[in-house]
């Protein structure tokens, strides 16, 4: 049983390349996670993982329009739909980064166009402050994107996703330098 497990682990290490990860608290020596873990071999082309928080009325509809217009864009984005950018808690962004997103996009209605009249104004102010905090605590601003995409801007949505994907692909995986990343047991 144990032997089998060992063999399986050994094989996976051989297949994926060997790397030792030290938990970031290891520095203080409080806990040494010295176990060797498998790390997925980096694929030839890095496919960034982008989490997008969008409002239902503008950007989600804009993405719909990109679809009905058959505009092709990179398949790297995963949309989480909220009623309004006003609903987007900074915790969402942190959680996405914690879970290993390479970039996060927040997008909603243009100023003045909010379905709820002012949710996007609230959001805008929140982001202005929160992004400073993220930036100051070491999250690269090339990982956080904010945009206004209206229901009519299918092309803008497609372009945006393509641009973000290209930018983030160029910037490389965020895994190593992401300060919010969960590194407990990976």
């Amino acid at each position: 049983m144990l032997k089998q497990q060992f063999a399986r682990r050994f094989l996976s290490i051989c297949a994926a390349g060997l790397r030792t990860r030290r938990a970031d608290w290891d520095r203080t020596g409080l806990m040494a996670e010295t176990e060797t873990k498998k790390v997925e071999a980096t694929p030839a082309v890095f496919e960034p993982k982008i989490v997008a928080f969008v409002c239902n009325w503008c950007t989600y509809a804009g993405a719909d329009l990109a679809g009905t217009s058959r505009l092709q864009y990179a398949p790297n984005v995963r949309i989480v739909k909220l009623p309004c950018t006003g609903r987007i808690d900074p915790l969402f962004i942190l959680k996405a980064f914690e879970g290993g997103a390479d970039a996060v996009l927040v997008s909603g209605c243009h100023p003045g166009d909010c379905h709820y009249t002012s949710g996007n104004y609230h959001a805008r102010r929140r982001w202005a402050i929160f992004r400073r905090l993220l930036e100051f605590t070491g999250i690269d601003m090339r990982r956080v994107f904010f945009s206004w995409v209206s229901a009519a801007e299918g092309a803008k949505f497609a372009d945006l996703i393509n641009r973000i994907t290209a930018d983030v692909r160029a910037a490389g995986p965020f895994e190593r330098t992401n300060p919010a990343r969960r590194r407990l047991w990976k």
Binding site: A23, D24, W25, R27, T28, M31, P90, L91, L94, K95, E98, P111, G112, S118, Y121, H122, R124, R125, R126, W127, A128, I129, F130, R131, R132, L133, L134, E135, F136, T137, G138, I139, D140, M141, F145, F146, S147, W148, L160, T177, N178, P179, A180, R181, R182, R183, L184
Partner: protein
């Protein structure tokens, strides 16, 4: 009369004439300063006040155990007075909830009603600003690369034990259930480790954006010496610059996060 004598005399007086049931001030314990709850006029003489008084006593006004003692008169520095105004603007304190023994910079302003605090601040302490050293420190850090900043904070946050002394010491952190204590869903890991510590420290600072009155009690409270004021002041400066408001001067102020202006900055939104 020396400032401290005047303070002691006022404390004794408000207790003697029943305007307050307890005076919350400082006492000396060797080099340490600890809060002192004076309930009888004769003990007012034990009150001290000096630069070593780092705690923001406004924090006690919302403690149920302290509230049970009756109306309090609280010894407050200008920063602590700003906390009182913040608490008023957030409906946590009203008109006659407390009296203030207002200790200014180099002078003592006597016993104030809560309503008198904001006018005093506006008149005398409108220009309260973070120390130049702190601002330089922030600038220095801001000039580094994201990786360097991440490394700096990783080292600092690694020390965090999640004792929440920062939260406990802050008059603005008055939630009875902090976000970190909400477990359905558990947004912020309670483990004193990488991601949990990052999320906790970042969200703590964010929740004080536009609300931090710069008293420094959180940083003074942190047993691990994490430079929390770097974060608080960074956001305070940002809010002041972008939204032209400073916490703790206007009891009628709308929350910075919770209000908006059509002209708010948005050059970061593409």
């Amino acid at each position: 009369m020396e400032m401290i004598d005047a303070l002691r005399a006022d404390a004794a007086k408000v207790l003697a004439d029943g305007r307050a049931k307890v005076v919350i001030g400082y006492q000396a314990r060797g080099d340490h300063r600890a809060p002192l709850f004076v309930t009888t006029a004769d003990r007012a003489a034990s009150l001290v006040y000096d630069d070593a008084c780092k705690q923001n006593l406004a924090v006690y006004l919302r403690k149920p155990e302290v509230k049970l003692l009756g109306k309090a008169a609280v010894v407050a520095s200008p920063a602590a007075m700003r906390s009182l105004v913040l608490l008023m603007s957030e409906s946590q304190l009203t008109g006659d909830d407390a009296l203030v023994l207002a200790v200014g910079v180099g002078e003592y302003h006597g016993v104030l009603e809560l309503a008198q605090v904001a006018p005093l601040l506006k008149e005398k302490y409108a220009a309260l600003a973070p120390s130049p050293e702190l601002l330089r420190e922030i600038e220095k850090l801001a000039a580094k690369t994201p990786e360097e900043r991440a490394a700096f904070w990783a080292k600092q946050f690694a020390k965090c034990t999640r004792c929440y002394a920062c939260r406990a010491a802050c008059p603005g952190c008055y939630c009875t259930r902090c976000i970190v204590e909400k477990n359905v869903p558990q947004w912020i890991s309670t483990a004193a480790a990488g991601h949990g510590n990052y999320a906790w420290n970042v969200i703590r600072a964010f929740h004080l954006a536009g609300r931090c009155t710069g008293c420094g009690a959180c940083e003074a409270a942190c047993p691990q010496g994490i430079p929390l004021m770097l974060l608080n002041v960074l956001l305070g400066q940002e809010v002041e610059k972008e939204f032209e408001t400073k916490a703790g001067y206007d009891p009628e102020a709308k929350p910075v996060i919770g209000s908006w202006n059509p002209e708010d900055e948005e050059d970061f939104i593409k």
